[in-house]
Amino acid sequence: MERLYKKKGGLMRVTLRTFMPGMLGVLAGLQGSPVLAADWLPVTADDLHLTSVAQAPGAAAVILYRQVDRDDARSFQDEYVRVKILSDEGRKYADVEIPFRHFSESVRGLEARTIRADGRVVPFTGTVYEKQLVTSRTGTTLAKVFQIPDVQAGSIIEYRYRHVYSARWVFNSRWILSGDLFTREAKFSLFPNRGLSLRWTWPNGLPPGTAEPRLEKDHVVLEEHDVPAFVTEEHMQPENELKERVDFIYSGARHFETDPAVFWRKFGIIAWKFEENFVDQRKAMQRAVAQIVQPGDSDEAKLRKIYARTQLVRNLSYEHRKTEQEIERQDEVGTYSVADVWDRGAGNEWQINYLLLALVRAAGLGADPVLVARRDQYLFNQRHMNSGELDATAVIVKLDGKDVYLDPGTPFTPFGLQPWNDTDAHSLRLNADGGAWVTTPLPDASKSRIERRAVLKLSAGTLEGKLTVRYTGLEASSRRLSQRNEDDTARRQFLEKQIEHMVPAGIDVKLTNSPDWGASDASLVTEYDLEVPGWATTAGRRALLPVGLFGNNERHTFEHAVRVHPLYFGYPHQYQDDISIELPAGWHIESAPQVRSADLKALQYKAGAQSDQGSLHLTRELNINFYEATADSYGAARKFFQTVRTGDEEQVVIAPDASSPH
């Protein structure tokens, strides 16, 4: 959702901050001593005696009232906050910290007071400290800090201040509509800068019952009531994308587009021209491609060879974090085209993808560039018209009539796949006409697997033997990517830790092979010596073996009864376990659990135990066939994972043979 405030003559270009020398004289004259918009509001007897809020049971504190009035013409923002302290824990909200940038911002007119439960008002007369948060060559961030005195459960505290910004700049801003505390009432207003055009959006929606921001005379205004506190949950979307807010974005563009289709067409044309300018090195690319492919190669063979070759280019985006001097040396010679990338054998993420694009075209295949909105950062919406959210690239190649999405710029990405956060993502396929919206493919769960195969012996309650874990698809590439700059020792520790997290017991595990960390298409195969002390439990003369040796990751999934946010798993993936356990001599399987399964289509689980001549064969499959679902699905998903846990804790009963001396 978005709205627009457009003023005639608003022609200046704005990013985050805009220098407006022409307005300096006018605005400087307007910055006198701060005058806050409102006096303290009256306090009702009900608020004085309030002990709880029905919509926020047990809350330590609630915001009774909040008001934010921003004036971008006169470069200030007034804030007013009134908080009811409901318990001792809520007294921490009397410690207030207001950050600001030194020199370009200031905090003025700070006033605060406590209204005790008996109605007595205690004004704040203490010290307001100025605390240094961080200082660097690029500036200093300070904070005004103070403690409101005499605060007890039952008190109301309130404070107000004016945040004054440099008149030379206009800042984009936002209203955060949901926070740590329940908000009973809040009012927001913004007076736009008249020299610029302003657009406002509420990308994550508005709190229930809240009317859309509206323009009243020259102000944008919004009121909200009874907004619940924001809660954090497991398996949720990016937190910042779930908090309701209103974003205000200024533009000095001559024509501030209100039509997303037009906006994106214009953006697409610019992006296309940039890309064409970068990749248009036909002769150089033809020479390069001749070194990669053979004349008789099929299109697919050509494409795979080119893909593999571009993955060998040194990827500067994924090296260790560099300092300014390192970057300076690295950029001593500029990179202006794909020919530069090829000649230097180095480039960053998008440059490598565009090298692939150029090489593929030079090989005679059709290919288009794609700008992708990574979904680990944003929940992209075209209507927001925020081109910055298209923060990744890929290349679509037409192969045998089908589109193949490729991303060699992300190291270790298998041919035909993209990193998980680029899958099922809104993307703009660029062309001379501005491009077309596409959604990147979502590989099914079978493409990203963790297969665990163990051959173990049971002795004195301890399992001991060999374990092989094979990671495929995105499971392999994500691990290779995370460990790309590590050495063998760190990688070994990383892998061993992964196994430790899989097993719901203390274990001794040692990596015994040298996994292939450099490959992309091949699985990441890891082998271990594994010892699980005390895995078999005793029950008198019998012993019991749980079947879910690798079920630790699911032990606490969705254990809470209540859910607020949608579910989010990243990407579809599978686990498959196959475990053979040789029983001690003289022991036999007395009983084994039935196959336990659950099938919600989106979530599938199956675990079983079979007896096999003195040994036990355990199998387990867990398929996560989706990556997002509404909060309504939580009950079913929770029940599913309860079934998984129940299945994993099923026991195989073993007992000594009758003739055995045990």
């Binding site: 047990g58 330590a60 970057i327 008198g540």
Partner: protein, 678 residues
């Protein structure tokens, strides 16, 4: 480096949270923005000779996990006068592994008394030209601990190309104003990586002397000249960072240098006695009661009869009504605010709260004094030389003659003061009489009127920090377990639980707390009722009562039903499940004792076919006893888990690991029920 008296200041906590993020962001900004504006040198081979000399130096002994080694460490301290001290710090590392890159971020703590004169760093990469960064590249940030306002800061500098194969070095020159109460310096020469060579040089003006004290390392004589002394150590082993290990000051090698000015000049405290006097003088007059305090004392004690009841009322007021807010500027890092100000403001830090309570107690005729402690048990030991390097203040309350009560546990006889009760008014969850596990057994400085005395705080019996769980459950033939659980928590257990629940901002968070607590015990469950008792009555045990229903608790296997008698609660630990030998002591949070009694009514038609055996283990430092039996048609499980000692030597780590394995085995042990023929 100043070490102030505020709660929970640890090196790891100094730069954390949002401030750390800001600092990191600023460093990153410099990396990217600076690329456009940087015009500094990237000259070839400009590293100074003392860095370059280490390029071909042999490496100290190390294993394949070592991320870097210190090739050269040099500290030069020059005392110019009683008012000025100059310090030169130099370090040279070789980065061996990618994780060693963290050595490329130099962080120098700053106090208002410290001025950095210059800060430079260099990198000699495996290939290519040297890098150099300096003052202009540094970033400064306020430190973050528990203080609301502090003037402690940190300056940080990132050294380029801190990657394996590089040799990096830095040099920091600073000027300090020695504080008269801390005329001393500490040389901490050990590291978490091996050190090839470490040097410490002391230059003193004529007439000055020093006294050296070695901690956690044997004594090394210096190379002496008339006014300078040089200590050199080589091939120092790394200290391994392990979970639940003692604090760094308690195990790392260090040399304490106490400075002694010529006669006639003000000297720092040379003994614990003098440190105690210094601190009492610092707080002199601050504990004087104001009329408002007197009125409040009268109001709080009006309904109480007897001294102890009055003490409790005053202690509870300071614990709960005075918020913990630390404002520490200048000497305020050590000096408490006046009791009257603390009372008026309604907030203060640890020493402020101790000051106010001391003032209030005095009004009812009870004397008390400060005890300076370190919240990390083991950071100060009996061998630590006199210094004010504590980070917390509690009170020693002189119990009036004849005042004896079983609730007064943290007591100790002291020759001058009689029986004293240790009490921490900053801890809102440990009532008068108790002492948190973290403080038990540690050393503190009793600021007695006749002078300070380093004393060991009492260690309380394990039974005083306990969980008692009882459950009355019933099992049906489908495996569903139903029933009621009652938990009674005392001592540190109750304090920790109250702390967790205190940070919960909503009632539903209490339910979530129980869900998380019992989630590992059941594969599926539903809480039918949850209540928590005595949440705010810290002088009473905290009580949980909840009813639950857990489907599939017992697993059917043919005509067998397999049921775990240990319904709830886990005390096993995988802490020592590692193939590497333990290097450090294992520290427990406190001594404690758990007792569980769980009864499960068996489903009709089933009888017990197999029971887990009893377990009885006693390793001295801890013990575990459990038993499963059939009582009527019920399964009855009882157990006791007890930690008796606050720490276990590394040599006993295998014993402790086996102990935990035994506990784990018992916790998972099952009873087998068999369906009776119809």
């Amino acid at each position: 480096m100043r070490n102030r008296l505020s709660l929970r200041r640890t090196p790891a906590a100094r730069i954390s949270g949002r401030r750390a993020a800001l600092l990191l962001r600023a460093l990153l900004c410099l990396a990217w923005v600076g690329a456009a504006v940087y015009s500094g040198s990237a000259a070839a081979n400009n590293a100074p000779p003392w860095v370059r000399a280490q390029v071909n130096a042999s490496l100290p002994a190390h294993d394949d996990k070592t991320v870097a080694v210190v090739l050269y460490s040099e500290t030069v301290v020059t005392v110019e006068s009683a008012a000025k001290l100059r310090r030169l710090e130099r370090r040279v590392y070789r980065i061996l592994r990618p994780d060693g890159a963290s050595r490329g971020t130099v962080q120098i703590p700053l106090t208002p008394d410290t001025r950095i004169l210059s800060m430079h760093a260099w990198c000699i990469p495996a290939t290519g030209k040297d890098y150099e960064v300096g003052n202009d590249d540094a970033v400064e940030a306020g430190m973050v601990g528990t203080e609301f306002v502090t003037d402690l800061r940190v300056r940080a500098l990132r050294i380029p190309a801190s990657v394996p194969g590089s040799v990096i070095g830095y040099e920091v020159e600073s000027e300090e104003q020695p504080r008269p109460y801390l005329m001393a310096d500490a040389w901490r020469f050990q590291d978490t990586v091996p050190v090839r060579e470490a040097r410490y040089t002391l230059h003193l003006p004529p007439g000055w002397q020093y006294k050296a004290t070695w901690l956690n390392h044997f004594e090394i004589p210096p190379v002496s000249e008339p006014t300078s002394w040089l200590w050199v150590l080589s091939d120092l082993t790394a200290i391994k960072i392990e979970p639940d290990m003692p604090p760094w000051p308690g195990i790392a090698g260090q040399l304490w240098i106490s400075l002694v000015p010529p006669a006639g000049q003000e000297a720092g405290p040379g003994s614990w006695r003098e440190v105690g006097i210094w601190y009492l003088n610092l707080g002199r007059g601050r504990r004087d009661a104001t009329p408002a305090i007197r009125q409040k004392v009268a109001e709080l004690t009006a309904g109480s009869t007897g001294t102890l009841a009055k003490m409790r009322a005053l202690a509870a007021f300071v614990q709960s009504d005075i918020r913990y807010v630390a404002v520490e500027l200048g000497i305020g890092g050590y000096q408490p605010h006046a009791a009257g100000d603390v009372f008026t403001n309604g907030f203060g830090d640890c020493k402020d709260k101790a000051t106010l309570l001391s003032s209030m107690l005095k009004e009812i005729g009870v004397d008390s004094t400060y005890v300076l402690v370190n919240v990390l048990r083991g950071a100060v030991t009996a061998a630590t030389p006199a210094n004010p390097g504590f980070n917390h203040v509690i009170l020693a309350i002189q119990l009036p003659t004849g005042l004896v009560d079983p609730s007064l546990l943290a007591v100790k006889a002291q020759p001058q003061l009689g029986t004293i009760l240790f009490f921490d008014p900053t801890n809102p969850y440990t009532p008068l009489g108790g002492l948190s596990g973290g403080l038990q057994g540690g050393f503190g400085l009793l600021a007695a009127p006749d002078g300070g005395e380093l004393i060991q705080l009492p260690q309380l019996a394990s039974r005083l920090s306990a969980v008692q769980r009882t459950a009355q459950m019933s099992l049906d033939d489908s495996g569903t377990l139903r029933g009621d659980v009652h938990e009674v928590l005392t001592g540190d257990w109750a304090a920790r639980e109250r702390g967790t629940l205190g940070s919960a901002s909503r009632d539903p968070d209490h339910v979530r707390s129980v869900e998380s607590h019992i989630g590992s015990a059941f594969t599926s469950f539903q809480l039918l009722k949850v209540t928590v008792g005595n949440l705010r009555a810290t002088d009473k045990p905290l009580e949980w009562n909840y009813s639950l229903e857990a489907g599939n608790y017992a697993k059917a296997s043919g005509d067998l039903l397999i049921v775990r008698p240990r319904v709830l609660g886990s005390r096993s630990s995988a802490l020592l499940e590692t193939h590497e030998a333990r290097q450090n002591l294992i520290e427990f949070r406190s001594t404690e004792r758990d007792t569980d009694v769980f009864e499960i009514a068996l489903p009709p038609g089933y009888q017990v076919d197999d029971l887990p055996g009893a377990v009885d283990v006693d390793g001295g430092f801890a013990s575990y006893h459990s038993k499963t039996e059939v009582v009527g048609h019920r399964l009855r499980y009882t157990r006791t888990f007890e930690i008796r000692e606050l720490s276990v030597p590394a040599a006993k780590a295998p014993e402790l690991r086996d102990f935990y394995r035994t506990v784990w085995g018992d916790e998972r042990a099952e009873a087998v029920l068999k369906r009776m023929p119809q």
